[in-house]
């Protein structure tokens, strides 16, 4: 809801490490030195945090919590005379809705079908952009442009390009001899899903490219020199040096993108509106549709289900990747770099 370019806050919230060569900051030590003025220090913290806390509590948390309890009540804008508690009735309605199966399948396809190409192409771009070349800065700025556009508007741009009669996609494909007849892309659920995925890949690759490129640039040259001395080939270097080194970034980026794409109805909303025949809805577009129909109870139930799924996913994903030593190795390396810096 915070616009389409809502960034993956978790990535940046990971304990950040100052750049190599940056002057020591000693924040912790400074804090300890100031401990003697505890009350004063507490007041400063409270005063500086208060505005942010108040805004987020009032306009984000309050509605969110209020929304959660609606999931267990009969809360429909069309009839507010009876907003009694109904237990799990709203959840049962979600599960028994004929659209539910389609919505689930589409959501899975939407997440996986977006993430995989975004990651692969983004990784490739990052590898190719690692070595300096003339106009590289300009290139990066240009491929960054899709990021300035809202998902909703991207949906509209691609809706026009995939137009069955006057769309440029059909025209180009016909010119290339790949299709004989114009395809009614957005009128058929299968091709419509392909079209929204193309649009989302177009939009999301840059983000992966940027994150991975930044990680690649933190790999010390000595590692590559050592790999070259050992006679490691390109593929071997990629899988034995590059990927292990940037593991933490890869894992966090994928995690946040999955959550984010899951929660990203804007593009589909603008491109197909969930149509044709409600066959391209994902969970969040469906939730918006139900909200617009006024059934806040059912929409909230759906929202809680999404939260539950994402929580399970986040815990599962983080544990699974940590077991193999990703987290600890990252931390160890960080420590080493701090010493060197």
């Amino acid at each position: 809801m915070s616009g389409t370019s809502t960034p993956p806050s978790g990535v940046t919230a990971a304990p950040s490490v100052r750049k190599e060569g940056a002057p020591p900051r000693g924040g912790g030590a400074g804090g300890r030195r100031r401990r003697e003025f505890t009350t004063r220090r507490g007041l400063v913290i409270a005063a500086f945090m208060a505005p942010a806390a108040v805004f987020v509590a009032l306009f984000t948390y309050y509605p969110m919590i209020a929304g959660s309890q609606m999931a267990f009540r009969n809360w429909n804008l069309t009839d507010l005379t009876d907003t009694s508690w109904v237990g799990i009735k709203n959840f049962r309605e979600v599960f028994t809705d004929p659209a539910w199966g389609t919505v689930l399948g589409n959501t899975a396809l939407w997440v996986v079908g977006s993430i995989v190409p975004q990651l692969v192409i983004g990784f490739a771009l990052a590898l190719w952009l690692r070595r300096r070349f003339r106009l590289r800065g300009l290139y990066q700025a240009l491929i960054f442009f899709p990021w300035a556009i809202s998902g909703f508007l991207i949906g509209i741009l691609f809706r026009w390009m995939f137009n069955s009669e006057f769309g440029v996609v059909n025209d180009l494909l016909q010119k290339a001899g790949l299709i004989d007849e114009p395809v009614a892309w957005l009128a058929d659920p299968d091709t419509a899903m392909v079209a929204v995925l193309v649009a989302n890949v177009w939009y999301g690759v840059t983000f992966f490219a940027i994150m991975i490129l930044a990680a690649l640039q933190s790999i010390p040259d000595e590692l590559y020199e050592a790999a070259a001395l050992d006679g490691a080939g390109k593929a071997r270097t990629l899988f034995r040096v590059t990927i292990p080194y940037i593991r933490v970034t890869l894992v966090l980026t994928v995690l946040l993108r999955v959550i984010w794409i899951f929660n990203f109805p804007d593009l589909i909303f603008g491109m197909t509106g969930g149509g044709p025949n409600n066959e391209t809805h994902i969970v969040t577009t469906w939730m918006i549709k139900i909200t617009q129909q006024g059934d806040y109870g059912k929409a909230s139930a759906l929202g809680l289900l999404v939260v539950a799924v994402l929580l399970v996913f986040a815990v599962f994903f983080l544990t699974a990747t940590r077991e193999r030593g990703g987290g600890r190795r990252g931390a160890g390396r960080t420590g080493k770099r701090e010493v060197r810096a």
Partner: protein, 278 residues
């Protein structure tokens, strides 16, 4: 540095980079070309990849038929004020989170993070009811307040990363010279961090400028609509007028692209600051 490149390798690399660039820019090219065609030519065969006759009729229609100027002004006002206030508030919270250790710190950070993960649509209904109680439905001030809250969590996290790159000896020296903490922050730290703060503001601005669902939910009268809400109205009608639509899309995209071009380096820095730790 990363091994030698063969000529074939270079050729492959630049072919793919070139293809991706074309793919990246084509949709923007296409919407612009469409908007500059004569309305009649948009729906004619064969499809023209360059306007046969340039026309500003689509743009003129936008300000004549539809009240697009009003929507632009609304979006500009709401995004500027909300973006600026959110940046100001986030500067304070980011400073505290970067410089102090305190007990509820990780809880606060987690609370900010969670807002980014939960589908905020769960809050749309209750938010509408809350704003009704506050008499702030269909009110630009109301939308600003909500946008400020939406921007704060990520903006705080982003600015915190920037603060951590500034040595705290700087403000300690200023405080020894007799400045208060707030004074040191405003007069010593902020000037040093200006690029980061500008990037944070631009990021907020663009997010507010692009926001759709809250605006659709909270603003219903025509005079208060923001641009995305108006665009949503365009596609809700049965037949989309692609002439006006493309012109409106170009006018919506243009300001954000200019801002991003201006600040992309710092935004990238903010995004990747904490993520990359080897």
């Amino acid at each position: 540095m990363i091994g030698k490149e063969t000529t074939a390798g270079r050729a492959t690399k630049f072919t793919f980079l070139g293809l991706w660039l074309v793919f990246s820019l084509f949709p923007l090219y296409w919407i612009t070309v469409t908007s500059l065609k004569d309305p009649g030519d948009i729906f004619s065969f064969p499809i023209a990849y360059w306007p046969e006759r340039f026309s500003l009729e689509n743009y003129q229609g936008l300000f004549g038929k539809a009240d697009f100027g009003t929507y632009l002004v609304n979006s500009l006002v709401v995004s500027t004020v909300a973006g600026a206030v959110a940046t100001g508030i986030s500067t304070l919270s980011a400073y505290v989170l970067a410089r102090f250790e305190f007990r509820s710190k990780s809880a606060l950070l987690m609370a900010f993070l969670v807002t980014q993960m939960i589908p905020s649509f769960i809050a749309l209904g209750p938010l509408y009811l809350l704003m009704t109680d506050l008499r702030l439905v269909d009110n630009r001030l109301g939308l600003m307040l909500v946008y400020i809250a939406v921007c704060i969590p990520f903006c705080t996290v982003m600015l915190r990363g920037f603060f951590e790159n500034v040595p705290d000896a700087l403000e300690e020296a200023a405080m020894i010279d007799g400045l208060s903490r707030l004074g040191a922050l405003l007069r010593v730290l902020l000037p040093v961090m200006r690029p980061g703060i500008v990037a944070a503001f631009i990021f907020n601005f663009v997010n507010c400028w692009n926001e759709l669902f809250l605006s659709v939910t909270l603003m219903n009268s025509d005079e208060n609509k923001t641009v995305p809400t108006a665009l949503n109205g365009f596609i809700s009608s049965f037949n989309i007028d692609w002439g006006s639509m493309s012109a409106a899309a170009v006018l919506t995209i243009l300001p954000t692209m200019v801002l991003f071009a201006f600040a992309s380096r710092h935004i990238v820095q903010g995004l990747t600051a904490g993520a990359v730790k080897g």
